[in-house]
Amino acid sequence: MNRRRGLVLGGLLLALAAAVIVAVGVGTVPIRPWDTLRLVAWKLGLAARPVGVPESTAVILFELRVPRVALGVVVGAALAVSGTLFQALFRNPMADPAIIGVSSGAALGAIAVILATGGALSGGLAVSAAAFAGAVVVAFGVYRLARIGPAVQVATLLLAGIAVASVLSSVITMLMASSGEQIRSIYFWLLGGLQARGWDAVAASGPLVVVGVAVALLEIRDLNLVSLGEERAAQLGLEVERFKRTSLGVGALLAAAAVSVAGVIGFVGLMTPHILRLVVGADHRHLLPASVVAGAILMVLADLAARTIVAPEEIPVGAVTALLGGPFFLYLLRRQRGAVRA
């Protein structure tokens, strides 16, 4: 049984490698695989600068496509792990990074900056920083709101999160309605995307995501305990309140890191854990590492579709994840004919 699960993780890693290679090799502008290989070898210091390959090809490959794919890996892993943490913490199959207002907080932060700067084009680091701040402030605000006495009831936290998220969504709608010419920037920021973000975005979000994922992986045993119910977990020696604080913080951090560089991308955080539970089961020792890899795969492939389906035009990647992810998820759900567990 464990061997099978090991095979699943290995298979996922291979699939990620394949997805990355395809996503780097394929794009709006066709680059011959041979040229790609020679350019990569040159960049790694293994070969001389290839002759006969235009300068623009190197720019496209190393300034646009590779960072874009790298950002897809980072964002996908962050969203999927965040979703897995929230589903375990809230013991609720509907939980995802949007649930406790994190996405709305991020969106509000970003919109505030877009409006204040008179419509900064997306990709500005000020927008990312504000989105991150908004997400973290909302996550901890919700936590404080839900705190009654020494303990935070998970149900209260969930409800407070949903309420705050819908209040923030209304504020966003009102801001958009009165934003005038900036409405376009805001609208497309909200749709999400990895276009034209570059290495800056990878550098801004990457370290946070690595730390967040590492902390989550260290918490695997506690995640399994808390899945049994808080009371039981406490009896088995878990410091439940401290655990809730940590995993909420890590989940919010991961979601904020993703949203701040890629906008609001739905479905990856919600779906990835569910898909994997059908494959590897609910044990977080297998589920969490698999989520890291599978989230990255989903995001890289969705972005590949977003930039190639109607090339040289682009479609928002959030639309792709919803369009492809929704039906696929429903298919899995029907095939399994079982209850969805968190």
């Binding site: 709006t28 646009l64 900064a120 084009l121 309605a177």
Partner: protein, 305 residues
């Protein structure tokens, strides 16, 4: 959104053909020298195929599009404009004090507000909308024009002149615009063509069928987005780097030139390295009104400066 925009453009271009066929500047056939003693009643059909008959020149007009506010003021009818769409109706400055009828969404007017102003005409550039039927039911004629090119925009001004009893000023304005556009096109021919990219915002650009695309071609450049299927697509940076246009134009709304150029891929473009990046006033190139020719001249200046 995209579908309705494309539909709008299709309708607009069909109507452009019809208008052109009727001879927008010659007045009605069989009425030589009708002059500005405009002929009312007048019956005209708009870009949506709606037929509007006015028995006398309209006295109280609501505009629901900044371009149309500009047109009426340019025709000397500013004192008849009793309502405008909202904050975007910022030109000429006198228009800013006029009652706004737009709802928060900005895509349709508040019907109650319009009716309360007791207008005898509403003109707009928005295609579609059930609010038009409601206004018509309440006795307010609604006339829609949406231009997909420079000639189309000039013809629409002439049409609006006929509808509002300002035929002579409309014809003078149209002649002036055509003359200045002709000078720009002459200059473009002398200077030779360059390739260009116009960014509206967030890599959204213009394709064939959009007003801006037509202006770019007239001003003397071949947009690298000529293969676009949509009038307003979002473009791939990869493709942009590959095509490496001679000139990079960005619609300005206060963002500053660094916000445009300091982005991955964009900063490697030849136009950016050689300083051929220009901000153009978005209002001038996107509003099918009297200042469109200024937009055309600004584009030509940026391209051949």
């Amino acid at each position: 959104m995209a579908r309705s925009a494309r539909w709008a453009v299709t309708v607009a271009s069909v109507v452009a053909l019809v208008t052109a066929a009727c001879g927008g500047d010659g007045g009605r056939a069989g009425r030589p020298g009708a002059g500005s003693e405009a002929t009312f009643p007048v019956t005209l059909s708009d870009d949506e195929g709606a037929s509007v008959t006015l028995r006398r020149p309209p006295r109280r007009i609501v505009t629901f599009a900044p371009s149309h506010t500009e047109i009426l003021f340019a025709l000397g009818l500013g004192d008849r404009v009793v309502g405008v769409s909202g904050a975007f109706d910022d030109h000429p400055p006198e228009a800013q004090g006029i009652e706004a009828v737009g709802t928060a969404s900005g895509t349709e007017p508040n019907v109650e507000k319009v009716v309360a102003l007791e207008p005898d005409l509403l003109v707009t550039a928005f295609i579609g909308g059930e609010w038009k039927d409601r206004l018509r039911d309440l006795g307010v004629p609604v006339f829609t024009t949406l231009a997909a090119g420079f000639d189309d925009a000039v013809d629409d001004i002439v049409t609006l002149g006929r509808l509002t009893g300002a035929r002579a000023p409309a014809r003078r304005l149209a002649e002036e615009m055509r003359r200045r556009a002709g000078a720009v096109e002459q200059r473009a021919q002398d200077e030779g063509r360059v390739t260009c990219f116009l960014e509206l915002s967030d890599l959204f650009t213009v394709g064939p069928g959009s007003l801006e695309f037509d202006l770019l071609e007239r001003a003397g450049c071949d947009p690298v987005t000529a293969s676009a299927d949509e009038p307003y697509p979002q473009w791939s940076v990869e493709q942009l780097v590959e095509d490496d246009p001679d000139v990079y134009l960005a619609s300005e709304f206060g963002q500053g030139i660094e916000a445009v150029t300091d982005r991955p891929g964009i900063r490697e473009l030849r136009a950016v390295r050689e300083g051929d990046v220009h901000l153009v006033d978005g209002d001038l190139v996107s509003r099918p009104g009297p200042r469109l020719v200024e937009g055309l001249e600004a584009l030509a200046q940026a391209l051949h400066g």
